[in-house]
């Protein structure tokens, strides 16, 4: 059967994706940061009319066009959007592949009559795309090459042999160098190439030109690889009799978990978030969500973590169906086992998960070192489940164990006061060491450091507290900022 291929080219896919969410009635461009320079990645027709083009430096563009609006490009989101379009286009045929970053290719042979013929199919496609605000150039031909050529270099629509040969050679998907080489020889259209003796072309430009030509003309086959479906990590079990005991549910969960973990293992994945859905006989759903501190596919380790959640389930009149889905998975390559690996760390992660189940995984946090002289900025706090402990804390200077927002005390002069009140405690200075002068990081605006340079003193009080005081010489005041152990 004759192949019929549709090539869709979404000329402005990235900008249209953004503009669909938030329309802009002015020149608009997406910028992409590359090699330390912002360049225009995609733009709308208004911007193009203002003389901008892709690849132009963004600051140039802004100078050309004062009212240019812009957003940074999100290439991943664009790719996702293209996948979405691919899914959508399965309404026309089951065989859909991607064409670069901004196109789709469909094999519609055998399915066109469902829409009342090819013309009608194309019209339907155009109409639906236009309605949703996506501009597309559509070509239809006997081969992938012809359809592509028609979409990119032709007027669009159905491509006949004559249409194809009148197109410029750029429509053959050749590389820039070959293209220029051919153009310099005066070969402009596909017809010009066809007219040349074949051997002479291969001798000069390699096989690629003829390959592309034959692919376009249908003398060489070209495959279209359809998109594969992502594997689904979910298992379910329907029970002949409703169950209600925790032990039963756990037993069921164990079975589900074992088969889910086997599936994860085949794909070298680990579950990060698991959702156990329990359907009751009265159709009510009970859900147990489990967030893990690290990707896992070890049923024996995961199962105990479900205990608490399952405990809280209200089984009502009984549960007759169980479903376990890994809603978030991460790569977890198979690893060589040895006698030390994974023992200790795994336990900590299990603990984090265990605590996380109770108080929320995000609330389990850890300190990480940060590179700064400013005490408040010399550490960061981040969720323990999503960060690795950093190697070493290198501190040149002794820092207090507890650091709190500065608390003002009354004192005068640049020397630590002999007596002062802090948190309503009268304190007497025993030994004071310092000053350590820390100046604000000038490149950051930090309101806490508005008072300027700080002279830090370590003050051992006779009452026993060892405090970290500072003095701000540029607006004379004293504060306590921390307490040593």
């Amino acid at each position: 059967m004759q192949k019929r291929v549709v090539s869709l080219w979404f000329e402005r896919l990235p900008s249209e994706r953004v503009l669909r969410a938030r329309p802009v009635d002015a020149p608009f461009a997406l910028t992409h940061h590359q090699k330390n320079a912002d360049r225009i990645y995609c733009l709308n027709p208004e911007a193009e009319r203002a003389g901008l083009h892709r690849g132009m430096g963004f600051s140039d563009a802004r100078a050309f066009c004062r009212d240019l609006q812009s957003r940074p490009a999100d290439i991943n989101a664009d790719a996702q959007f293209l996948h979405m379009l691919a899914r959508w286009s399965k309404r026309y045929c089951p065989w859909v592949g991607l064409e670069g970053r901004d196109g789709l290719v469909l094999t519609i042979a055998g399915s066109a009559h469902l829409f009342g013929g090819e013309e009608a199919l194309l019209d339907d496609m155009r109409l639906r795309l236009a309605r949703s605000g996506i501009g597309a150039r559509i070509g239809l031909g006997d081969t992938r090459g012809a359809a592509w050529a028609m979409a990119h270099y032709g007027p669009g629509g159905i491509c006949t042999q004559t249409d194809l040969t009148a197109l410029p050679i750029a429509a053959l998907r050749l590389d820039e160098k070959t293209l220029t080489g051919l153009q310099r020889l005066g070969i402009r259209t596909i017809a010009d190439i066809i007219a040349l003796p074949r051997a002479t072309i291969t001798r000069r430009f390699g096989r690629d030109v003829l390959l592309r030509l034959d692919q376009a003309l249908g003398d060489q086959s070209e495959d279209i690889s359809p998109l594969s479906e992502d594997p689904h990590y979910g298992v379910r079990m329907t029970l002949p009799e409703p169950i209600g005991l925790t032990g039963d549910v756990m037993a069921g969960t164990e079975r589900l978990l074992t088969s889910l973990c086997a599936k994860l293992k085949i794909n070298e994945k680990g579950a990060r978030i698991l959702l156990l859905v329990l359907r009751r006989v009265d159709q009510g759903n009970q859900q147990v969500e489990l967030r893990l501190a690290q990707p896992l596919r070890d049923a024996a380790r995961i199962l105990p973590l479900f205990e608490r959640g399952v405990d809280n389930v209200d089984a009502g009149f009984g549960i007759d169906q169980m479903r376990l889905v890994a809603t978030q998975v991460e790569n977890l390559p198979t690893q060589q086992m040895n006698h030390i690996s994974g023992q200790k760390e795994g336990k900590l992660d299990d603990l984090i998960t265990r605590i996380g189940v109770r108080i929320g995984l995000e609330n389990v946090q850890r300190f990480l070192p940060a590179d700064s002289h400013i005490p408040e900025r010399s550490f960061i706090v981040s969720p323990a489940a999503y960060s690795r402990p950093e190697g070493a804390w290198i501190t040149m200077q002794p820092r207090p164990l507890r650091l709190f927002p500065p608390e003002a005390i009354t004192a005068h002069g640049p020397h630590p006061p002999a007596r002062f009140h802090w948190r309503r405690m009268p304190l007497t200075t025993g030994r004071a060491t310092g000053p350590e002068r820390i100046a604000p990081e000038w490149w950051i605006v930090d309101d806490n450091w508005r008072s300027g340079v700080r002279d830090y003193w370590k003050v051992d009080t006779k009452e026993g507290q060892r405090l970290w005081l500072f003095y701000t010489p540029q607006s004379p005041n004293w504060y306590v900022q921390g307490e040593f152990a």
């Binding site: 690849g55 132009m56 010009d192 010489p473």
Partner: protein
Amino acid sequence: MIEVNHEHRPVEAFERDRFWVEPGEHGYAELCTTTNFTFLTGASHPEELILRAAELGLAAIAITDRNSLAGVVRAYSALKELKREATEAIGIRSSQTMDSSSRQQFGHSVELARPDGARLPKLIVGCRLVLRNSPVDWIALPQDRPAYARLSRLLTLGKRRAQKGECHLDLADVLEGCAGIILVALPQGDIHAKHVQKHIQAAIRRFPGHVFLGAAPKYNGQDQAYLNACANLARRTSAPMVAVGDALMHHASRRQLADVLTCIREHITIDEIGTRALPNAERRLKGAADMARMFRNHPAAIRRTFEITARCGFCLSELSYEYPDEIGDTETPQMRLTRLAYEGLERRYPNGPTDKALAQVEKELVLVEKLKFPAYFLTVHDIVQFARSQGILCQGRGSAANSILCYLLGITDVSPEVITMVVERFVSEHRGEPPDIDVDFEHERREEVIQHIYEKYGRHRAGLCATVIHFRSRAAIKEVGKVMGLSQDVTANLSGQIWGMSNGGADPERIRELGLDPNDKRLAQTIRLIGEIIGFPRHLSQHVGGFIITKGRLDELCPIENAAMEDRTTIEWDKDDIDALNILKVDILSLGMLTCIRKCFDLIETHNGGERLSIDRVPQADSPTYDMLCIADAVGVFQVESRAQMNFLPRMRPREFYDLVIEVAIVRPGPIQGGMVHPYINRRQGKESVSFPSEALEKVLGKTLGVPLFQEQAMQIAIVAAGFTPEEADKLRRSMATFRRMGTIGLLRDKFIAGMLERGYEPTFAERCFSQIEGFGEYGFPESHAAAFAMLTYVSSWLKCHHPAVFACGLLNSQPMGFYAPAQIVRDAREHQVEVRPICVNNSAWDNTLERRPDDSLALRLGFRQIKGFREEDAGWIVATRGNGYPDPESLWQRAGIGPSVLERLADADAFSDMGLGRRNALWHVKAIRGQQPLPLFNDSIEGEGIHEPSVDLPAMHLGEEVVEDYVAMRLSLRAHPMELLRPDMPNLTPHAALTNAPLGRTVVCGLVITRQRPGTASGVVFLTLEDETGVSNVVVWRKVYEQFRRVVMGGRLLRVTGYLQREGIVVHLIAQHIEDMSHRLSDLGHPMDDAIGITQPQADDAPRPPRHPPRARHPREQAKRLFPSRDFH
């Protein structure tokens, strides 16, 4: 707006009430400072540190850069200047503008109060030795001249071992070569480390009494503990402890800059700097009170700084410098000089010398003997002799070059009859300053001369000066912008926008134009930091040709390091430093025009036969040559080919050699700024009567019609009219060059004007005289300079006038040089009826050649060197295996071994047309050759293995395509000018040739941009030269119009300009009103690579270079449209 930064408030003010300790009676001497000559580390100029030290009243300051002595001379000069000013009681200008290192001015100058108590600090020369294998840095402070020599040799040793800019030294080297040098150990990192003690003890065993332990406070809250630890270590190692500041900057406000420098060094942005930033601004130069407070428990450490200061007795002025003698066996240098001078007298004056010449020789010989410079003259003479013997053309210039001795020794060819001799100018007795002779050599063969000098004197005695590369605005914007997180396109535009504004910083209007917010705090900080970093040294590079030659070892004078170029070594000091220390140098410079002239002489010798010409044998006072210059027919002629000069020539109407001297000197920034051009030209054209304010001045200014044009005249005016002594006049000259950096000219100004008024001159005249002298600044020419250049101007115009083909050929073969691109040179040659023949594989050589035509005139055959990216080696093979010519491209591949890519280049250049192959067919043929080398079995096509291809009918190339192809391959076309092809589609244009007769009024022209200039002297006016098929037009873009069409003016290749005509004599200007970028029309020529047309020469184009983006990045559909201008798919 810049927010008030608390950093800028003097923290010292708050400190004062902290622990107020009375400054010790002795004060303090700083022994460790890092200047910005420790590149990308130190955050202050040496001058700033000296000035700050003086303000703080320090007893001494040591400049100790990391493995380098590069900054010490700056400090020395600054101190000398301070001393001089202290004695002359002239206020010191603020450190903010005292940017002597770059000779640039920025910021506002602030008058500083003179430091109380005129005691200036003593300068200690030294360096910080950072070793490869030691946890201790050593501050090395030489005690006397021999110790200094040892230090210099030690550094040379380390530098010659390493790559450029690095120094590899080990502890063993220090223990070997540091006798007599005081070493202060600065432990890095953990002071308790085992090696620290071991290394210090090793040093102290080797140099007892010379090793100290430096204790530098760290300002981290544990200083007292640290100092106690130091004291402990000092006891254990028995190296006495001494206080050092380890200053990185002269003032706390430089902390930000220091952080930025750290970022540049580490290739990070400021947000990534983290703990690599300075925690505070305490590493600044501190006064005695601060140090006494810090060392309150160790007062001896402060006292010891004086002990060391007292022991360091070395001063840079001791660098007694001996010039190498050129001793014959029995002759002293003076005798030899005298003999050579009299021999020269016979040669130069075949009819017997004039009395005047004789007297001059006598006078100069006496003077030279007295000042002990005969060896210097002989050295230059010997170098020139060597060049002559190798057939290398050379010519001397510089202040000493206008002595009759130089003329007699053959160093210059300008007869001293022509120009005024001012002996005081070249060697003034009191100044003790060395004379200055620069010698220009052919640019292609200068390296031979340089290697000869190395060979003759040895690397241990001869070295090139360094040039300090400073942050200029462009680099500053780029680097600081990167650190502060501006993206590259923003910084590129920022530097693009300040085009022509050199170092003035950025204008808010421009910033807004870039779409940035000038009120943004980060940006304001960035811009301020850019302003601060401009003028900072960045690295050392080699000077273009300043040679130092010594009698003794050069490496005992100054450290020598490897240059980036192979076989070159440079010293660490630059030209100014050398001058400051009164060290003689010979400038071995290169000049493209000399290459061109030599090549022309060669060509004339081979083609016209007969005697070989030389510069002094070219017929003088040739009237056709002057006629040619009068109509500004000067493309390619030395010095007078620029647009300003070409406009000036018809007004000047030069008739004799001295006119050329003036012509060369007058169109320079100095005289233009000084306002000399108009008075002179008015007087010359007789519009203004020539009058002199006094008879005395008539003598001085007679030759230049009463307008001072040369540096010598400025000095003489000061002597004659203002009553200056020659000594003072010389000081005036020097401050003319330096007034911008120290601001000392004010006093001289008062004296000058008072002197003139006293002698009865008009106040307005006096003012004008002085402002003219000021205008010279650095841009004025000495007369001898101008005369030397004028000689080359004359010779090149004589060649152009009488041998146009030869001249064009010589010019093309000496590229890159001069102002115009090959396209313009070829065009000019054709306008002078020279037949230009295209490149041809069967006739061309690498160089352009001359061919005899049937009518006995010469035709210019373009050579392979005109093909872009062609290698000389390939050209050599083509010529060598040519035999009776190549029948087809394959034979070239087989016989000459030319690879396919080179064959393709030849085809692109249409070099196969001789074989009956058009460009397209040639390309088709050549494309078939894929292998690099012919295969041995198949290389004989007659054997029958040859592939018989079906013949192919390629569409013929139309003219537009051919022209583009020509430009792509050779940047020039002999077929047609692109404008000629585009003109039918662009109505209402006036061709350039018609401009001379066109009615004055609104006119539209269109052409390719060939020059684009924005002289600093013209207050924002841009001069464009456009070219079409009929000639060139001069477009003047006034500032306002420029602002409006900025982007077009800067970036356009083909411009359509609407404006009104102005005509003055034969000079026609178009004053632009509207400018349109027509570059896109070039794609109408129907070729995909039209962007090869209209690329200007960098020297003729002041526009910033890189803003062009390759059009390839455009949309594919654009590409399609370019190919099919008539079809549109919308």
